[in-house]
């Protein structure tokens, strides 16, 4: 009897310990899963920038906003005057972010995405552009001239105008809103499918890539040492990712085929997207402005 209890008690201890351990493990697991879902969520947020607010900019027709963006980009690249991109950024784009009530998100994107890209381009060009004669200073074989600085500054501002106007557009327009409006105007539904579907698949794919990298590393895959080893580890990373995602293609094709994807009948839309006379006026004004800029450029040069 005594012997039995002695045998039993450590057993009970082990059972309790195991339960406790399992509970802790499950807690850690939930925490990890929550963090992973947060990361995926953050990625998803990053791809569809859209922020739902009620503002004049949000209420504009998506095509009007797209015309605005393309118009701003074309004007900043075609304009014959040096300060046009700088002025566009300060006078048009930043005030528009306040009109759209997305100024805080816009500035965050500006700091994180646009500023690094623009300043990298600025430094590359300022150092390596071999134009001009007014040398300001000299490092090794590189001349920093006044002309190259000005040139780099304008190019960086053009890139900044391009990206910040697109950011503003993505912040105030939901992708599916734009796509349903364009489909209504005659864009084939397949294009809309490709764009919307890419925006959904991309975060999933990036998460899958992270999982594959972690799994292969835990099996001992070398991702950090010599060049040949890293080149060799490309296969075990690319293979599972590509074959895994290609498997889903066929099922998805059958699924959307069954829902009338290739049907040529005119489809009705659940959402009504407004297109007012104000929208049409803005679009025409922008097209005129672009044409005027082009003519000025041709005339002045």
């Amino acid at each position: 009897m005594e012997k039995e209890t002695r045998l039993f008690e450590p057993g009970l201890f082990y059972v309790q310990a195991a339960t406790l351990f399992r509970r802790i493990a499950s807690l850690i697991h939930t925490a990890a899963a929550r963090r992973a879902s947060l990361i995926i969520h953050a990625m998803h947020e990053r791809l569809s920038f859209h922020i739902k607010r009620n503002s004049a900019l949000h209420r504009l027709n998506p095509l009007t906003k797209l015309t605005l963006v393309l118009g701003l980009v074309l004007i900043s690249f075609l304009s014959p005057w040096y300060w046009t991109p700088h002025a566009l950024l300060l006078i048009v784009i930043i005030p528009l972010s306040f009109v759209g009530k997305v100024n805080r998100e816009f500035f965050r994107a500006f700091l994180r995405l646009i500023l690094p890209a623009a300043s990298f381009l600025f430094f590359m060009q300022a150092f390596f552009q071999p134009v001009g004669g007014t040398v300001i200073f000299k490092i090794w074989f590189l001349d920093i001239t006044k002309e190259s600085l000005l040139f780099a500054f304008r190019n960086a501002m053009r890139i900044a105008v391009m990206v910040s106007s697109f950011t503003l557009f993505l912040l105030t327009t939901h992708p599916s809103e734009l796509m349903s409006d364009l489909t209504r105007r005659g864009l084939p539904g397949q294009f809309a499918y490709v764009i919307i579907s890419t925006l959904q698949i991309l975060p999933q794919m990036q998460a899958k890539a992270q999982t594959i990298i972690a799994a292969q590393r835990s099996r001992g895959l070398d991702t950090q040492s010599s060049f040949l080893r890293r080149m060799g580890s490309l296969g075990p990373l690319v293979g599972p990712l590509v074959f895994g995602s290609l498997v889903e293609v066929e099922e998805r094709a059958i699924a959307i085929e069954a829902r009338g994807f290739t049907s040529t009948q005119i489809k009705t839309s659940l959402y009504e997207i407004s297109d007012t006379s104000l929208d049409r006026t803005i679009r025409w004004i922008l097209i005129l402005l672009v044409i005027i800029t082009l003519l000025l450029k041709l005339w002045l040069s």
């Binding site: 590359m124 990298i213 094709a253």
Partner: protein, 241 residues
């Protein structure tokens, strides 16, 4: 889906754009764009000196047709530019032509064995260098935000013209990248089942010839290594002289 067999007989001219697109193509394109971007990021993580950001484009171009590949490339660069790196945005014509040329090469039967794939990769690289040169020169004045601009800068300082400097830089950088891309795409296609491939518009593009075996792979790798050495030799000569 049953149309594919009929479509295959109709695909005479490469200008027949519609024949590139069936439901499978439309579903493959988003996946290919995501593959482009995900592999591009894996390569950055592994710190390899190549981009490999057009494997999905080449894949679509080969099994669906040149125009589907071109569309994939253009959309891929646009989405990459808007979501991840703004400097990628102006280069969408390059990706467009990569898809187009890879598809045309595949239509001409240049995607059926390892050494032919190397030829395809070389032609794609030549196209990419040709298309990217005017963009780099007229939009950026020759110096772009890519790391290879260091070589361009050096060539410019040695007194070469902007056009020559940019073109010779991309001609040094592109072949290795594009040949590796095409070889990886070929390896992926070889791993797919015939039943799966038959659902796409142009499965006949990748029917492997008798000799898609190990020896050919080694010959192809050897050719690539020789090309790399040749590029390094040219680079040393250019920099030395």
């Amino acid at each position: 889906m049953r149309e594919t067999a009929m479509q295959r007989q109709k695909t005479g001219s490469w200008l027949n754009i519609g024949s590139n697109f069936n439901t499978m193509t439309w579903v493959l394109i988003p996946v290919a764009i995501a593959i482009n971007i995900a592999i591009g990021q894996i390569v950055v993580l592994l710190k390899l000196p190549v981009f490999l950001d057009s494997i999905g484009t080449v894949l679509v171009a080969v099994i669906c047709g040149p125009w589907a590949g071109a569309l994939t490339g253009a959309l891929s660069n646009t989405i990459w530019g808007l979501a991840i790196d703004p400097n990628a945005l102006p280069w969408w014509p390059v990706a467009f032509f990569i898809g187009l040329v890879a598809g045309l090469c595949a239509n001409a039967g240049l995607f059926k064995s390892w050494w032919k794939v190397v030829v395809t990769g070389f032609l794609v690289a030549l196209t990419a260098a040709t298309i990217s040169t005017p963009i780099a020169v007229y939009l950026f004045g020759g110096i772009t935000a890519s790391g290879s601009s260091f070589i361009t800068a050096y060539l410019l300082q040695t007194g070469q013209g902007v056009l020559q400097a940019v073109f010779s830089t991309s001609f040094l950088v592109e072949p290795v990248d594009k040949i590796t891309t095409c070889m990886l795409a070929f390896a992926i296609v070889q791993g797919l089942s015939k039943r799966f491939l038959a659902r796409f518009p142009r499965p006949e593009n990748v029917e492997a010839e008798g000799g898609a075996n190990q020896t050919q792979l080694y010959i192809a790798v050897g050719v690539v290594v020789l090309l790399v050495l040749f590029a390094a030799f040219v680079l040393r000569n250019v920099l030395g002289g």
